[in-house]
């Protein structure tokens, strides 16, 4: 019965899109989540999504048709800056996140207010923050971008898995062994930025931290090696994302599409 219902809904592209994007974003954010939580950057999701919010505001004022082209690079640069402050302790990591995120968010909101292009400003802000509707209004192009980015992220994560582990566990030792720790930190930062920009479509900027920290923290309770924690975190979040993306249809929370 459940299964038939799911198959019935899956014939609608928007349902398929939402499911695919939901599961992929959750997978990517949970993979990185383990590293970020362990590096004490649990709040980076929150911080960077505020940055992305600011950039989206600027992009909408500039009437860019493809705002991803601006959002992704700027967020990546901010991610690199935030993760770098973690090492040189003049401004600590959490302070850097607070400064950059609040600054970008205030700037974005100001820009949106001053150069308002849409009649429903608070509605726009709300959907950027909570992402409530956009998961159901994805276009084919968004889905393609999401799939491409997710594949890239997963491949990069697997390729550099051992290095990411080494650099997260002991940066000084990695450097002394000749590993280019800065390069891998920047890689982690860029991947994080990509994940967050991806996840904004799904849950909006406020709830991204949830996608990053909960699977990782649950997995860390259950398992004791880095590999099993990473795998468990990925599996948990894929199951939860699948369940969450499909339950509205299965339980009749949405009206029948016509």
């Amino acid at each position: 019965m459940m299964f038939e219902k799911l198959v019935f809904y899956l014939q609608y592209p928007f349902v398929r899109y939402a499911l695919v994007v939901g599961v992929l974003t959750a997978l990517c954010s949970s993979l990185l989540g383990v590293t970020l939580v362990l590096k004490r950057f649990s709040f980076i999701g929150d911080g960077l999504s505020h940055v992305a919010f600011g950039v989206i505001a600027v992009a909408s004022v500039l009437k860019l048709t493809d705002d991803m082209l601006l959002v992704l690079p700027v967020t990546a640069v901010c991610a690199v800056l935030i993760l770098r402050t973690g090492q040189k302790a003049k401004i600590s990591g959490d302070a850097a996140i607070a400064m950059i995120s609040v600054g970008a968010m205030a700037f974005g909101y100001l820009i949106m207010n001053v150069f308002s292009t849409s009649p429903n400003l608070s509605g726009d802000v709300c959907s950027t923050l909570f992402g409530s509707t956009s998961i159901l209004t994805l276009r084919r192009k968004d889905v393609r971008l999401c799939i491409a980015l997710s594949v890239l992220i997963v491949v990069a994560f697997i390729m550099f898995y051992n290095k990411i582990f080494a650099v997260s566990f002991d940066e000084e030792f990695s450097r002394s062994a000749g590993t280019k720790a800065d390069m891998y930190n920047n890689l982690i930062a860029v991947i994080t930025a990509a994940v967050i920009v991806l996840a904004m479509n799904l849950v909006g900027s406020l709830l991204i931290s949830a996608l990053i920290v909960f699977p990782a923290l649950s997995a860390m309770r259950l398992f004791k090696s880095f590999r099993s924690v990473t795998i468990c975190s990925a599996v948990l979040s894929v199951i939860c994302a699948f369940r969450a993306s499909s339950s509205p249809y299965l339980q009749g929370l949405l009206s029948e599409p016509r």
Binding site: F165, F173, S176, K224
Partner: protein
Amino acid sequence: MALITVRDLSVGYDGHAVAEGLNFSVNQGDYLCIVGENGSGKTTLMRTLLRLQEPLSGRVLTGDGLRKNEIGYLPQQTVLQKDFPASVREIVMSGFQGRCTLRPFYSKEERRLALGNLRKMGIEGLADRCYRELSGGQQQRVLLARALCAAGRVLLLDEPVSGLDPKVSAEMYGLISGLNRDGITVIMVSHDIQAAVTHASHILQLGKDSFYGTRDEYLESPTGKHFLEHKEEGEA
């Protein structure tokens, strides 16, 4: 030629020298202990030897076929590691990261070597245990095994017994001396002069009364005598 030769070296941060005019060399099989008070530049010198930072002036030369990154490092433990979920095997394997520059995974040979190093440290039974659940002494052994994976000839140890109780400290010193007898060159940074004069073959003291020479020369020197007397008074 010596493994490591230091000439007129000045080390420090942001152009401000912490220790200046350092001259010493480390030969194959030496056990050099770097001692000195807090702030005398022990850590900075160590970071410079590991090429984690640039010297202000002077040079660190490596010879005898020793490559730049072939110094096995035992760092002090960080706060991050306290709740890091990692198995002993994963940590020890990460010692090989410098060897596989772009290779994504470790080889069978490296797995075998890692187990061998665990055996040398007497902790092969702990390979699948979680690092954060081990005792302080066991954790140090794990990190020492990792350092052995990174480099088989020279080890640089940063306060290897800090936070360990006297019995475990003695075991740790015994383990290090054993490695040294097997031909591994050891450079140890420590504030424990007593341990230094017991185990080391050479001593480098930083600070006001700087000194470099063999252990016997140190015991005869005014600096050494002064320091040891001072130590005894402190302990009495």
